[in-house]
């Protein structure tokens, strides 16, 4: 009986690992580190995490996980409430639409895919936040943030791949 409970808890933890690892990285991204370029502008970690898990483990990272990650990021951030959730939902729609081009593809293809989809997501978020403030936000800061996010993708993906390969055990 207790073995069954242990197994269930373990299974639940395994299924939650994509979301938990994403929460962990989001928290890290808000730390005040005076380290290289990271003190000037922060990469959009939520986009990287959501994209990685939606491409690699859509069975463990669904629409509700995407929404929860968006809410979590929104709570820490001072950006308009709802704008982060909106961005995550846009990424979800785009990634699902492009899933047949991304499934089981080499890393470089996935990286290009992220470049394209995250650009669309960030631009749409920029547009909706600009509407919210009734003025256009500066594009240069947004593009700098986009470039850093794309640059950081392989490093974050490396950590997430470690979680996927070593910590998540599939039920046979």
């Amino acid at each position: 009986m207790s073995e069954d409970i242990d197994e269930n808890i373990n299974s639940l933890f395994q299924r939650m690992l994509p979301l938990l690892s994403s929460f962990f990285l989001v928290l890290l991204s808000y730390l005040p580190l005076n380290f290289m370029f990271l003190n000037v502008i922060h990469p959009a970690i939520t986009l990287v995490c959501a994209y990685f898990w939606l491409v690699h483990r859509p069975d463990l990272f669904n629409l509700w996980s995407v929404c929860l990650l968006g809410i979590f990021d929104n709570v820490i951030s001072a950006a308009p409430m709802g704008s982060n959730i909106f961005a995550m939902l846009v990424l979800f729609v785009l990634t699902n639409a492009a899933s047949k081009f991304l499934t089981a593809k080499p890393f470089v293809v996935l990286w290009y895919g992220f470049m394209a989809l995250s650009l669309g997501t960030i631009l749409l978020r920029w547009l909706i936040v600009s509407v919210y403030y009734s003025q256009f936000l500066p594009l240069d800061g947004m593009f700098f943030s986009y470039l850093i996010t794309v640059f950081c993708y392989p490093f974050i993906a490396l950590f997430l791949a470690f979680v996927q390969n070593n910590l998540i055990q599939d039920d046979e």
């Binding site: 950006a79 308009p80 960030i122 936000l137 500066p138």
Partner: protein, 292 residues
Amino acid sequence: MKRRRSLFLHLSHIRLLAKKFALVFLFLFAFVLMLINKTDTILIEKTSNVATDVISPIIEVFAIPAKLIANGYDYFRDLKQIHADNMRLKEENRKLNLLYDKFKSLEIENRLLADLLNYVTPPKSDFITARVIAEEDDAFSHSMIAYIGDKIVKKGQIAMSDRGVVGRVHRVGRAYARVLLITDINSKIPVMIESSRIRGILAGDNTSLPKLVFTPLDAVINIGDRVVTSGVAGVFPAGLPIGRVVSVNKNEIIVKPFGALEQLEYIRLVDYGLEGLLQNENKMMNDEAANE
């Protein structure tokens, strides 16, 4: 049997519909949240304060080891230029000693003249020093979260670094306060040019360099002019240093803040007892709390 079957079909049908419309529902949810946020109700502010209080201790746990690593990196980086820094600081100290003597004599002169004119001195300030535990500098917002413990901090209090104003307290939780930086798009501070007393508004736009707007059309503003608070609106006292003009174009005047906003570890949250335009807002919050 038939009834059960129809019930089963009914439930599965609802589930399918829910799945189909979940995405639409969540998009609507995000829009509704933005709309509520736009109206700036007390509900959103309270929810946000509670959420900050819940999440901030978790960030703080990660902050300690991360800070140690970052400090180690800084230590080895700084070793390289320690000699040059030492020489520069010695020279700076010599100049400061000269200025100190001058300052002392001016202070005495100022006190005598103030007594002579029966001048009403500005309000006394009270401050706490808070540790920055999280910061956010992206294209969509510029803010930070500071640990205030059990100290009383009010919305609207001024956040200062050792060099000048960096922002103001935007939201206050039980042990954490969110500070809106002067570079955030929501930040609008009445300022003036220190030497010419030309007034304007320092407006953030989510870049690292805020803009000086609403200055008189015939105003002569030069690169290098110091920008200080003007005291208009009664939230900030007059004369607090903010930054220096770094660019003057036909369309915009750009100011570089004195406080290194991206490298702040500690900030002072100063209470001058001025609430100005925020008086009504704070009163509403207090009334709500009293009613509860």
